[in-house]
């Protein structure tokens, strides 16, 4: 399909900005642009058709089952979009006086309160733009907290099952990284931990349930080990969908928690974003939160910028407010039944696990929480069919592949998270597809190797893309690449 730039014709256009009849002052010499940017020149109907075609070539939760592990691809209720589009929210300037934004501030404050209750921690900042920024914020909070106490700690411990953002955040926060092993039950190795945690240890970053979808059965001991050394525990909330209303990170012993509003609380993923990564902390860490925070004064609400010990700001304004509206609406629709949301997420995952573990290897033979990890190792060994092949073949069943090759501790991993919103029939379709593919691996492996067969493109050459990167249109010094069929 052509690029919109390839559809451009000189002189065509869609939008016409207002042109008040006022003189246009000349710009200072040397600042004036010589060559106009080569933006597409297209009429509105071709814009509409172009992006309609691009949408048709994109698979979303609205298209079908999307069990992308660790991403919580649940249904996104449409009423949340209606809410975010209300002019009173959508067209509100972030520097509006507090007096002129009481409704928005109340919503944000309510969300803070609810998130605090869910985490079991008292203080919340809504500012971080996503989970990974929440992580970085959490680590900065640790540094500020220890600096304030005059303690020098330089190491953060993460699990070997940790998501890549954890170690990356550790580096960006200026900490050293240490890894702890996982036992064959999928819990943190306590012995290994005891050996590594000392007075240089700032804290632990952990996802619980882990990226294996397993709840750490030793979480109390883990907390004890760190706290006894004066270190802190950070909870990576990416998997919170497993435990809302059932178990609270604060009660597990975590001191700092981030939420992924685009996972647990249904902000649509938008093809890669936006998201929201609020952070909750214990009382002792509250003074260091980024400013501003939303506070209640009697009947009114205001942004409090006056936090002398604050680490400072991590994003503009009070955070991605439109995301708050959606998540707040989502939460208010459930109320206390959020617990049922998590129960159903766990039920769906265990159902899939039970129906698939005889054909794909289950590395940790336990009930899972909201997701689980299978291994295609056997298929690889016996038929040369890899986790990647299975993933590509799933596409021919109109199912989005799970997360693959993660976590790293499981070879040929398929990380499967169905979420609570899927019907049993959808789960059964997935089971049938996965079982069929396992059979095909034995009977007609090439069908699987060469998959997908039903998409606008076949498998793509990622090596070439990285070797000689072409990251923008070349405006017709054509390299003779044939556009894929419509």
């Amino acid at each position: 399909m052509e690029l919109i730039f390839e559809k451009s014709r000189p002189g065509r256009r869609a939008g016409r900005p207002p042109r008040p009849d006022l003189p246009v002052p000349a710009l200072p010499e040397g600042l004036r642009r010589e060559q106009p940017p080569r933006l597409p020149e297209v009429p509105e109907n071709e814009i509409v058709r172009h992006f309609t075609a691009l949408a048709d070539r994109t698979f979303g939760v609205d298209t079908g089952f999307y069990p992308l592990g660790s991403c919580t691809m649940k249904h996104n209720p449409r009423v949340n979009e209606r809410a975010a589009a209300m002019p009173g929210f959508r067209d509100l300037h972030p520097l509006q006086e507090d007096a002129g934004a009481q409704g928005a501030l109340e919503l944000a404050w309510q969300l803070q309160e609810i998130l605090a209750e869910i985490a079991g921690l008292p203080a919340v900042t809504l500012q971080p733009a996503a989970g990974s920024q929440g992580e970085l914020t959490g680590l900065m909070l640790m540094r500020a907290y220890f600096a304030d106490r005059g303690e020098e700690r330089d190491t953060i411990i993460t699990a070997d099952t940790a998501h890549g953002t954890n170690p990356a955040s550790v580096t960006m926060a200026g900490y050293k990284l240490e890894k702890v092993a996982t036992t064959d039950r999928g819990n943190l190795d306590l012995a290994d931990l005891r050996a590594k945690v000392d007075e240089r240890t700032a804290g632990l970053m952990l996802t619980n349930p882990s990226t294996l979808g397993l709840f750490d059965e030793g979480i109390e001991e883990v907390a004890e080990i760190f706290h006894s050394q004066g270190a802190l525990l950070y909870y990576d909330g990416a998997n919170l969908n497993a435990v809302v209303g059932l178990s609270r990170p604060g009660d597990m012993g975590f001191d700092i928690v981030h939420y992924n509003l685009h996972k647990t609380f249904s902000q649509p993923h938008g093809g890669g974003g936006p998201g929201g990564g609020p952070v909750a902390v214990r009382e002792a860490i509250a003074p260091f939160l980024p400013a501003p925070v939303v506070v209640r004064d009697g009947e009114g609400f205001r942004l409090d910028h006056d936090l002398p010990k604050s680490i400072g700001r991590v994003r503009g304004f009070a955070g991605p407010f439109g995301v708050f509206v959606r998540s707040y609406a989502f939460i208010r629709a459930y109320g206390p039944a959020l617990r049922e949301m998590s129960e159903m997420a766990v039920l769906n995952a265990n159902y899939l696990l039970a129906r698939l573990k005889d054909v794909y290897e289950l590395p940790y033979d336990r009930h899972c929480m909201h997701e689980f990890v299978l291994s295609a190792r056997a298929l690889k060994r016996e038929h040369g069919v890899s986790a990647l092949d299975v993933a590509k073949r799933l596409m021919d069943f109109d199912i989005h592949p799970p997360t693959i090759y993660f976590p790293l501790v499981v070879p040929e991993a398929h990380m499967i998270e169905p979420t609570e919103t899927e019907t049993k029939e959808r789960l059964d379709e997935f089971v049938d597809a996965m079982r069929t593919i396992a059979e095909e691996a034995a009977t007609s492996p090439e069908t699987v190797h060469e998959a997908p067969h039903s998409r606008p493109v076949r498998r793509l050459d990622e090596v070439r893309a990285a070797k000689e990167p072409v990251v923008k249109h070349d405006f017709g010094e054509a390299k003779g690449l044939v556009p894929a069929a419509r």
Partner: protein
């Protein structure tokens, strides 16, 4: 039943069958792995559930308690602007497949969003005159921190030089991130509203990065080419924080020696939404491509030689490189960036130029018309600073009672500017709106001790 919210779908029968298939008698068995001591043994203390109609009613009542564009004539800017969002943007940002997809890890399932990001990268490179753009950063603040991280590794130096006339929120975020990068921040004060290239050059000597904003926070046009040269002279990477709306008229940073161009994308295709979600853009010269943070989409071919698109250079990223990654970012602002792309397609080069001219013209008119002394007598783009006879905050308070929000009292961010009001104009304002502003400012600017109506 299907959940109090109607978002769940497991009927009683479904649940029984599933538990049976799992081989347990109850849900509790599945949660046995959660130690009793860390379970919540009570109901969550959150408000009761609301059906959709009740929910909408509740949210409408909250929305009604905000003074938004529909209820107040506003001249607020200072980084976020009330530009027109084309209707076609709504059409596609609400389109299910685009709205509910995630990062295109599986390119064959996501050629549409991948191509869109590739087109966005192209558009940003065209605007800024750069070679490479990522798929978006969180906002116009965090991309500044990203630029510092790049500079830190590219130059090996540790000093960040910020023009004081860079938006305060951008500077605050940089200062929050810098320590983690092992960097220190130096700020260069403005001289009469603009940054002096000489002082900037001094500060940039042996620095990692020299960051300035064009137009700057006061709406003033900086001597950008000289500032870029000044930074480069000191061996620092010159980085311009630019308003994309201005780039139909103002020279592209890539054409006056900047290493990177960054900015807040909100003005192109995002509603103000009380501060987000928006998107930050980050574009750079070729040599930085392997240090770029976040997603980058590249062109390639499939088995049959057909063009296709994939996430590329992933060895930069956290999921591969982990602690050695160029950034920890994963979820970004793709949907908003798509809104930016659509807006740029809708405007085209001609529309973008006209839009800029309209901002220039209205601003020039307003500078004349408002009848308050200009704080800086310099060329501006779509915003300018005026001096108010009484505290600017009080002017705002009084003007709002007349249905006009006259601008941002920038004394909140800059010492000694308590009597300064920052007034922003976009194509959504008219000549008549400016006249109304002038009228209201005249009414409310009378100096009175007790603050009563003059």
């Amino acid at each position: 039943m299907s959940g109090p919210a109607g978002y769940l779908s497991q009927t009683g029968a479904d649940r029984d069958e599933m538990l049976k298939a799992i081989g347990v008698d109850s849900l509790d068995e599945l949660f046995a792995q959660v130690p009793a001591a860390v379970r919540l043994d009570r109901e969550l203390d959150v408000p009761p559930p609301l059906g959709e109609a009740d929910l909408v009613r509740h949210l409408e009542s909250l929305a009604a308690r905000n003074a938004a564009v529909d209820t107040e004539l506003s001249f607020l800017g200072a980084g976020i602007y009330d530009h027109y969002v084309p209707a076609v943007v709504d059409t596609f940002l609400s389109r299910g497949e685009l709205l509910t997809a995630y990062t295109p890890y599986q390119p064959e399932m996501s050629q549409g969003i991948l191509q869109a990001i590739f087109e966005y990268q192209t558009a940003i490179c065209e605007l800024t005159g750069m070679d490479v753009s990522n798929a978006s950063g969180y906002d116009g603040c965090t991309v500044a921190a990203d630029a510092c991280f790049i500079a830190r590794h590219h130059t090996g130096k540790t000093r960040v030089v910020l023009a004081e006339a860079v938006n305060p929120q951008v500077r605050q975020v940089v200062k929050t991130y810098a320590p983690g990068f092992g960097m220190e921040v130096v700020e260069v004060p403005h001289d009469g509203g603009a940054t002096d290239p000489e002082r900037f050059a001094e500060a940039c000597a042996d620095a990692a990065i020299g960051l300035f904003q064009q137009p700057n926070v006061f709406g003033v046009l900086e001597p950008a080419p000289d500032l870029a040269a000044a930074a480069a002279a000191g061996g620092a990477l010159a980085v311009a924080h630019v308003d994309p709306v201005s780039l139909g008229l103002l020279e592209a940073p890539g054409n006056y020696g900047c290493a990177m161009a960054i900015g807040e994308g909100q003005s192109l295709g995002c509603y103000q939404s009380y501060g987000g979600p928006h998107y930050g853009f980050l574009a750079a010269r070729k040599e930085f491509i392997r240090r770029m943070p976040g997603r980058i989409v590249g062109e390639t071919v499939d088995l049959e030689g057909r063009r296709g698109f994939v996430l590329t250079l992933q060895t930069r990223e956290q999921h591969i490189r982990r602690e050695k990654a160029t950034s920890n970012i994963t979820t970004n602002q793709t949907l908003l960036a798509l809104g930016g792309l659509i807006t740029l397609c809708w405007l085209g080069p001609q529309g973008l130029r006209e839009l800029g001219e309209t901002c220039l013209a209205l601003t020039a008119y307003a500078k004349e018309r408002v009848g308050l002394p200009l704080v800086f007598d310099r060329p501006t783009f779509k915003e300018f600073a005026v001096r108010t006879p009484i505290d600017a905050r009080e002017v705002v308070r009084r003007a709002r009672e007349r249905g006009v929000h006259p601008g941002y009292p920038i004394g909140r961010d800059y010492e000694g500017m308590d009597d300064v009001l920052l007034v922003a104009l976009t194509e959504r304002r008219t000549k008549e709106d400016v006249d109304r502003l002038a009228e209201v400012l005249a009414e409310v600017s009378g100096k009175t001790k007790d603050g009563s109506w003059s």
